[in-house]
């Protein structure tokens, strides 16, 4: 792992790309890592393509600018790969593309010109079945953790539980659903 690990999130306004970066950053912080999480601010209409970013490092992070060469790109909405160049700046050898899609990585590869590693997980289906709504960001964090190994599943579940307990004190089913979503995505993500 290089000194600073960089992540770019692609989603559509309203899907929680910003929240995903914040949650993941926070979860990494709780294991003693230094983090940055920031969105790219543009026209933030519902449904418009949006991006957000993470930097994760074992030591303090000094740099402040947009991420150009991420180590991994996480795509929350499959339809974006036809619309935005999600692989921009991604290394053809070391780079990882993680897509929320029922398709396999071979099927995704046929649609885009990317030679690096591709992983997929049907996060939308998992979210609907566990949380009851198509909010793919929490399960995608589970898949991200599996693919990168930045955190252990236990660390992620522990931190997410702690956070959700503050916010959803009176709705234990939401906490339960989100934790299950993370765990399922962690186990179901596939790729090469």
């Amino acid at each position: 792992m290089k000194e600073i690990f960089e992540i770019r999130w692609h989603g559509r306004g309203g899907q929680g790309a910003k929240t995903a970066a914040l949650l993941f950053g926070d979860a990494c912080l709780s294991t003693g890592k230094y983090i940055q999480a920031f969105p790219e601010y543009g026209p933030e209409r519902m449904g418009a393509p949006v991006t957000s970013f993470n930097r994760i490092s074992p030591s303090p992070i000094r740099i402040h600018y947009g991420i150009e060469n991420p180590d991994i790109v996480v795509v929350l909405d499959f339809s974006l790969i036809q619309q935005v160049n999600v692989c921009e700046g991604l290394d053809e050898k070391e780079g990882i593309l993680l897509v929320n899609s029922p398709l396999s990585s071979e099927q995704i590869r046929k649609k885009i010109n990317f030679k690096g590693k591709i992983y997929t997980v049907d996060a939308s289906k998992i979210a609907i079945e566990t949380i009851g709504r198509n909010i793919p960001n929490t399960p995608m964090i589970g898949a991200l953790v599996k693919v990168t190994g930045i955190l252990t599943l236990e660390e992620l579940l522990h931190d997410t539980k702690k956070k959700l307990e503050v916010k959803f004190r009176n709705k234990p089913e939401i906490i339960e659903g989100n934790l299950k979503a993370i765990e399922r995505a962690y186990n179901e993500v596939k790729g090469e």
Partner: protein
């Protein structure tokens, strides 16, 4: 001691304000500073602070309300950005002229037109001669630490001037970042009760009426301005005292400026704000190649730390002054003027050149700063400069 948390600069401002627990906050929301007021008003609603939160219809009214409250003796804070700061303009001078230690959290954003919500330093650079102390921050940690120190600096009996604390719009205001937050008790102990000063409530209680803001014609205006200038001069002595006390208590020391590998440098850049961190990375890369590069970060712009700037730059051969402001004077940016006047009296001084970058939030990356250092190296080789001002990262 404090704990490591992840906060954006806006959150750090709001949390700092909660811990400072001011008597009065009057503010009007504006992108990208909105969250400061939003989060703080929630603290007020939740009863976490004793603050009287005054909702106003504009920034002009926000600062007017702060001026009234501060004149009455209240510890007073506000927050704004860009057009909001511009709309406060005439009140800025009234706050400083009345010697009211108001604290303002400013999120740097460019000025319209063209309309743009992103970072540059044109808003607060325009206010640099308004009699406010100005402290700029490189990251979220500094934003928080500067705010807490700002209270003590502004209220110091020999300073008694309002103080703005700056952070970079979006780059920091919306960047969640690791920082160490002090405990409520630590902040409370550090800011303590404000030192006593003449105020309207005290005057009423003691039945010794005073007038604040009276007409001050040629017979006395000059003397009052002279006293105000003395307050700013005293800040040169007070700021290091407060910074030292802060460092001794909490382990983070701050100077007027930060010298980064500049002591033995041949070439160096001068920067303000979040670009400093990226610049340090470039300096380290150049040092690995054996190039003697350095960086000077200006933390305090008002008062202008002339001696520190002189000491930092006097032995360099070439200095590039990087600034997120266009001076619109067909010559150079404002910081270039200030730095060059600081150095003018030196017998031996570096060749200075000016780089304007990042206007309206244009991103500045490692490679942009490398372009600057490459130019400085060329000037070093040739022993003279071929331009005074260059734009970095613009299409033309």
């Amino acid at each position: 001691m404090g704990i490591k948390v992840a906060k954006t600069a806006n959150e750090a401002f709001a949390e700092g304000m909660r811990q400072i627990n001011p008597d009065v906050v009057a503010a009007y929301p504006i992108t990208p500073a909105t969250e400061i007021v939003q989060i703080f008003s929630q603290f007020v609603a939740d009863g976490l602070v004793k603050t009287e939160f005054i909702q106003v219809e504009s920034e002009h009214s926000a600062l007017s309300a702060c001026i009234g409250a501060s004149a009455a003796g209240a510890r007073t804070m506000t927050g704004t950005s860009s057009q909001g700061l511009a709309y406060m303009w005439e009140m800025l001078y009234i706050a400083s002229g009345l010697r009211l230690p108001i604290i303002m959290a400013v999120v740097n954003r460019t000025l319209s037109s063209p309309i743009n919500i992103h970072c540059d330093h044109s808003d607060t650079f325009g206010a640099r001669d308004s009699g406010w102390i100005q402290i700029y921050s490189e990251n979220v940690q500094e934003t928080y630490d500067n705010l807490i120190q700002g209270v003590r600096i502004a209220e110091h009996p020999e300073v008694r001037l309002p103080c703005m604390i700056m952070t970079d719009g979006f780059i920091l205001s919306h960047c969640l970042e690791t920082m160490e937050m002090l405990t409520d008790e630590e902040v409370r102990d550090f800011v303590d009760e404000p030192p006593e000063r003449e105020n309207l409530i005290k005057a009423a209680v003691e039945n010794k009426p005073i007038t604040i803001g009276a007409l001050d014609l040629p017979d006395y205006y000059f003397e009052h301005k002279r006293q105000q200038a003395e307050g700013m001069k005293n800040a040169l002595r007070v700021i290091p005292e407060i910074s030292k006390e802060f460092g001794n208590r909490f382990g983070r020391y701050y100077g007027f400026v930060e010298n980064y590998r500049i002591e033995d440098a041949d070439i160096g850049i001068v920067v303000i704000g979040s670009t400093a961190g990226t610049g340090k990375e470039v300096v380290d890369n150049l040092r690995k190649k054996g190039i003697k590069a350095g960086l000077l970060k200006i933390r305090v712009l008002r008062p202008l730390p002339v001696e520190d700037i002189k000491n930092s730059l006097k032995n360099l051969k070439v200095v590039g002054i990087m600034e997120r402001v266009e001076g619109m004077n067909a010559f150079c940016s404002p910081l270039y003027s200030e730095i060059s006047s600081c150095l003018y009296d030196l017998e031996k001084r570096p060749i200075l050149t000016n780089f304007v970058y990042g206007l309206g939030g244009r991103d500045v990356k490692i490679k942009d700063i490398e372009i600057v250092f490459n130019d400085l190296l060329k000037i070093l080789e040739r022993g003279k400069k071929e331009f005074t001002l260059k734009y970095i990262g613009v299409r033309e």
